[in-house]
Structure formats: structure tokens, C-alpha cells
């Protein structure tokens, strides 16, 4: 099947927008949308500081958290899992009202938070296999996305420091890439710190290569799914208890504590 035509120049990616209807239209046509300035000022600074501190704490203790989609030779990419438990600021990201408007618009409700993890690319590292996030769903895929990823850019995402590379429109093929398919077409999505890149689970993407000498680039990835899928993070085992204790109704749904039919305890919702 032919790839969707790749527009050239500035039109390759949709223009950043804070308008929900426009953003949802971008998701339908391009598979992604860019929300500028979703995190600003002190919040951005605090999230960035908390993430780098968590990564440094892990490194200092030898808690290396590799990921199966990184290349084995990559020693520079740093992963932080279970970011939600590391600092309350990350609750503000995972449960941000504007983010959840997109979750509801793309996946419907209820939905689940499958994971909240971070990826910090470092010099010489980062590059990842081109993939679609819903590869765990056997093909052929149902005609709607089964998940949504919201990438919170905590640093400027630039081509040189490993900005995530995308193939806009690839979600319309409704399947993962085969072999080297799409690798040539993928382009880096550059966005200033504080932007959120919102992409549905079928669009092809990969972490870019960080070609800088001394620069790191941090992104927090909030991964949401329809409620039939098993979360990657087992929140019932790993979540910091006060997150649950003070969680909003929406957060309880996303963490699997408000549920119907699946995830039951004694045949009922656990909270």
C-alpha cells in the first residue's frame, strides 16, 4: 500500500493549536497534534527539575531502567518508569484537564492510564525502532485508535537533540510499519519546552538520534488506552499511596480504581 503523500516544508506537521476541535481534527487527519505552552513558568521548571532529579537518583543507585524498544547498544538514553510516583507535579501532567479532553475525544470514557514514563536522550543516544504504540494489539486492527500518547516536552525538542520523529498520516494505514517502511519519511517534530505532542496509537514514530555533544532532552510520555487493555504499569503494586488517597474521580478511573466488568475485586469496583 502506498504511503499517504508527504507534504513538504512547514506543512509536514499541523500548526500548533490550543483549540480542542482543531486538535482533534489534526489527530484524525495527521494522527497527531501539537498543544503549545500546556506547561509554563514554574510548573514547567518544577516538572523538569523533578524529572532530572529522579533520573540522577536512579543513576546514582545503579537503578538502570532499560526498555525493550531501545537499541541494546544505547548507553545514553535514560528511562524513568512510574514517574507518577516520583513527584506530585507529575499528577498535574497525567490528569491535566486539557490532556484528558483529548483522551476523552479520541478514546472515549472510561479510559486507563497505561503508563507514565520518561525518556531523556543524551549525546549519541536516543534512536529507537520506528513503531506504532498499539503493536501489542494483534492485526488486523479495529478501525479506531486503541490508545493515545501525550508527550510532554520538558526541554526544547530539536532535530539535533533527539526530537521524536513522526510519519504524519501513517495511522490511516491502520497497521505497523514493515521492515524499513516509513524510516525515510519520518521527520523530527520540533517543539519548544512546555509543548505537548498528542498522538494516537497507530501513528508511526521513533525517538530521534541525539547528535549534540553535551545536551539532554527530556520528555514525559503519558500513555492512555481503552479500558480493555492491561496497563504496562501495575499501579496497584507500584503507585505511591497518597496519589490514590487524594485522587480525583477522573484519576481513580484512569488508575483502574473505578471500573465495571474488568479489574474487579469481589465482583465489584475496588473503590
Amino acid at each position: 500500500m502506498a504511503m499517504p503523500p508527504a507534504p513538504s516544508g512547514a506543512a509536514f506537521f499541523p500548526s500548533p493549536t490550543r483549540d480542542l476541535a482543531e486538535g482533534l481534527a489534526n489527530l484524525r487527519t495527521q494522527g497527531l497534534t501539537i498543544f503549545p505552552g500546556l506547561l509554563e513558568g514554574r510548573s514547567l521548571q518544577r516538572a523538569r527539575d523533578a524529572l532530572y532529579r529522579a533520573a540522577e537518583d536512579d543513576a546514582a543507585r545503579g537503578r538502570h531502567q532499560a526498555f525493550s524498544l531501545d537499541y541494546a547498544q544505547d548507553r545514553s538514553n535514560r528511562r524513568v518508569w512510574n514517574v507518577l510516583s516520583r513527584d506530585p507535579i507529575f499528577e498535574d501532567l497525567a490528569f491535566h484537564p486539557d490532556a484528558l479532553a483529548y483522551v476523552k475525544g479520541v478514546l472515549g470514557w472510561p479510559a486507563l492510564l497505561g503508563n507514565l514514563s520518561a525518556n531523556i536522550t543524551g549525546p549519541g543516544g536516543g534512536e529507537m525502532v520506528l513503531h506504532a504504540d498499539q503493536i501489542f494489539v494483534p492485526e488486523p486492527w479495529a478501525p479506531e485508535p486503541q490508545g493515545l500518547n501525550i508527550a510532554w516536552c520538558l526541554d526544547d525538542f530539536r532535530e539535533s537533540n533527539g526530537a521524536t520523529r513522526f510519519v504524519p498520516g501513517s495511522h490511516r494505514l491502520n497497521r505497523p510499519p514493515q521492515g524499513q517502511e516509513g524510516v525515510e519519511e519520518a521527520r523530527p517534530l520540533e517543539a519548544p519546552a512546555g509543548s505537548a505532542v498528542i498522538f494516537e496509537s497507530r501513528v508511526w514514530h521513533q525517538t530521534g538520534n541525539n547528535r549534540t555533544a553535551d545536551e539532554h532532552r527530556a520528555g514525559v510520555f503519558a500513555w492512555y488506552t481503552k479500558p480493555i487493555y492491561r496497563p504496562q504499569e501495575n499501579w496497584f503494586l507500584s503507585l505511591r499511596p497518597e496519589v490514590r488517597d487524594f485522587a480525583s474521580e477522573e484519576a481513580l478511573v484512569l488508575l483502574g480504581y473505578r471500573t465495571e466488568g474488568l479489574g474487579l475485586v469481589h465482583g465489584r469496583s475496588p473503590a
Binding site: 526498555f67 525493550s68 524498544l69 531501545d70 537499541y71 541494546a72 518508569w81 512510574n82 486507563l112 497505561g114 525502532v129 513503531h131 503493536i135 501489542f136 494489539v137 494483534p138 488486523p140 479495529a142 479506531e144 479500558p227 480493555i228 487493555y229 492491561r230 496497563p231 504496562q232 504499569e233 501495575n234 496497584f236 503494586l237 507500584s238 483502574g256 471500573t259 466488568g261 474488568l262 479489574g263 474487579l264 475485586v265 469481589h266 465482583g267 475496588p270
Partner: protein, 264 residues
């Protein structure tokens, strides 16, 4: 009595091709009787904990006795959920990467009613249903007959990829699973079925439903929250994995992609 390996091989083939299979004699008579006694004890314990065994959302009256949480109630059920012949049939259909979704009992007492026609997979998973993502291993603790409320199924319906594929009036094509006490019935999650009314005078029909799903699907039961931490600490690594008690889950496909291994 242990079924010969040829019987297991035949059941595996039947499951793959016709969407269901019966394997006789998996439990001997004494074990079957003892398990049924422990099921009634578990039902009593479950009610004593304050839970009802009548589920109005599933059944029209209280003559269907439902016991959830079997794995929390008695170690004999934790043995059955990983019983080797049952697991051989699970792996034949779902492959090596599966999780336990639920393990419940349904005792149909005389006068119990019928459920709505459904496939387990269609209740949860969007169309198209092109492959088995779920499977029931039904443990027969009593003889199962048409009269005492055998599960009824639509032959060949596991091939329906959509509701439209089922064709008109599927209820007219229902036939019963009949099996002896001590048998297991393996049922593809795509097979359309219902329970039947128990029209006997005084005969119970006791079945255990061990429900397994592919590892990317969320389970019906949250075993992390259900099982007491002290009990969890006693479970072996195999059962811990199959119950989804690990911190990281649903990463099989990602690992396969990087390793270029065949997709599970």
C-alpha cells in the same frame, strides 16, 4: 485416572478447529467430590464475608449460585488454575503469553434461569474478532446434561468475525455441551454461548469457569487488590506471573519487535 496423551492431543485439535473440546477424566471421582464440597464451603465463606452469590446482572433468579474469588478462597482452586492438561489447552489456543482473567463458579440449582447469548470476547473486544484472545476452561464438578443446565453453544460461531457473521436467529442453532463429572470443557472466547435453565427436580449442575486471556488484555479481576498480601507472598513465580502481579506488564510485543522474534 489421567487421560492419555492421545486424548489431550485430540482435544487440542478439536479446540483449534471446532472452537471447543471436552477432555474426560481430568479429575477422578474422589477429587471431584472433594472439590465440590470445597466449592460449597467456599460459597459459604464468600457469603460470610458479606458478598452475595446472586448476581442480578447475570442471572434472573437466585437459583444460580455464583462464587467469585475462588483463588482467594481455597488452595485447591489455585492448583486447578495451573493444572497441566488445562494449561496445555490454554497454550494451544492462546500461545505462551496468557494471564488468568478470572476464576468463578456457577452452580445452577433446579429452577435456575438462562443468560443472554454472548461470546466472551465479543463482550469486551471490538470487531473484527479474527483470532482467539480468550478461553474458558470449564471444570465439570457434576455431570452436565441438557436437563440440568448445560452450557449451550452455536457450533462454528467462533469463526464469526462480527455480529453480522453470526447470521439470523443464532438461538435456533444452540446445542449443549454435555460432559461427565471430572471433565474439562475448553471453549474458545469467540464461541457464542449461553447457560440453559436447570429443569431437573433436584439436581445441581456445578461448573468452575477458569477464564484466561492474552497478556495484553486487562483481566476481569484485579488480583493485586483482591488477594491478601500475606497470601500473595506464598504464591510461586508461575502463578504470580499468570495473575498479573508483576510491576511491569504488557511489554511482550515491544520486546518481540526489537528482537525481531515472531510476534506472540
Amino acid at each position: 485416572m489421567v487421560p492419555p496423551s492421545s486424548a489431550l492431543a485430540a482435544a487440542r485439535e478439536a479446540l483449534l478447529h471446532q472452537g471447543w473440546a471436552v477432555l474426560n477424566g481430568v479429575l477422578d471421582e474422589a477429587t471431584c467430590t472433594a472439590t465440590l464440597e470445597r466449592l460449597w464451603a467456599a460459597a459459604a465463606a464468600y457469603e460470610a464475608q458479606g458478598h452475595s452469590t446472586f448476581m442480578p446482572v447475570l442471572d434472573p433468579n437466585a437459583a444460580n449460585v455464583r462464587v467469585f474469588d475462588l483463588l482467594a478462597l481455597d488452595g485447591c482452586f489455585r492448583d486447578l488454575i495451573l493444572q497441566p492438561e488445562a494449561i496445555a489447552l490454554v497454550e494451544a489456543l492462546l500461545g505462551p503469553n496468557f494471564r488468568v482473567s478470572n476464576f468463578t463458579a456457577n452452580i445452577a440449582r433446579p429452577g435456575s434461569g438462562s443468560m443472554a447469548l454472548h461470546s466472551d470476547q465479543a463482550l469486551v473486544v471490538p470487531e473484527p474478532w479474527h483470532a482467539p484472545w480468550a478461553l474458558n476452561i470449564i471444570w465439570c464438578l457434576t455431570d452436565v446434561t441438557f436437563q440440568n443446565g448445560a452450557t449451550l453453544f452455536v457450533p462454528g460461531s467462533h469463526r464469526a468475525q462480527s455480529r453480522d457473521d453470526l447470521g439470523p436467529n443464532p438461538e435456533a442453532r444452540l446445542v449443549p455441551f454435555e460432559a461427565k463429572a471430572g471433565s474439562i470443557i475448553a471453549m474458545d472466547g469467540r464461541l457464542w454461548h449461553t447457560s440453559r435453565k436447570n429443569i431437573t427436580e433436584g439436581e445441581d449442575r456445578a461448573l468452575l469457569f477458569a477464564y484466561y486471556v492474552r497478556d495484553f488484555l486487562r483481566g476481569q479481576v484485579n488480583f493485586n487488590a483482591l488477594l491478601d498480601p500475606a497470601l500473595q507472598a506464598t504464591l510461586g513465580p508461575e502463578l504470580r506471573q499468570r495473575l498479573g502481579l508483576q510491576a511491569a506488564e504488557n511489554l511482550t510485543a515491544g520486546a518481540a519487535l526489537l528482537g525481531k522474534a515472531p510476534r506472540a
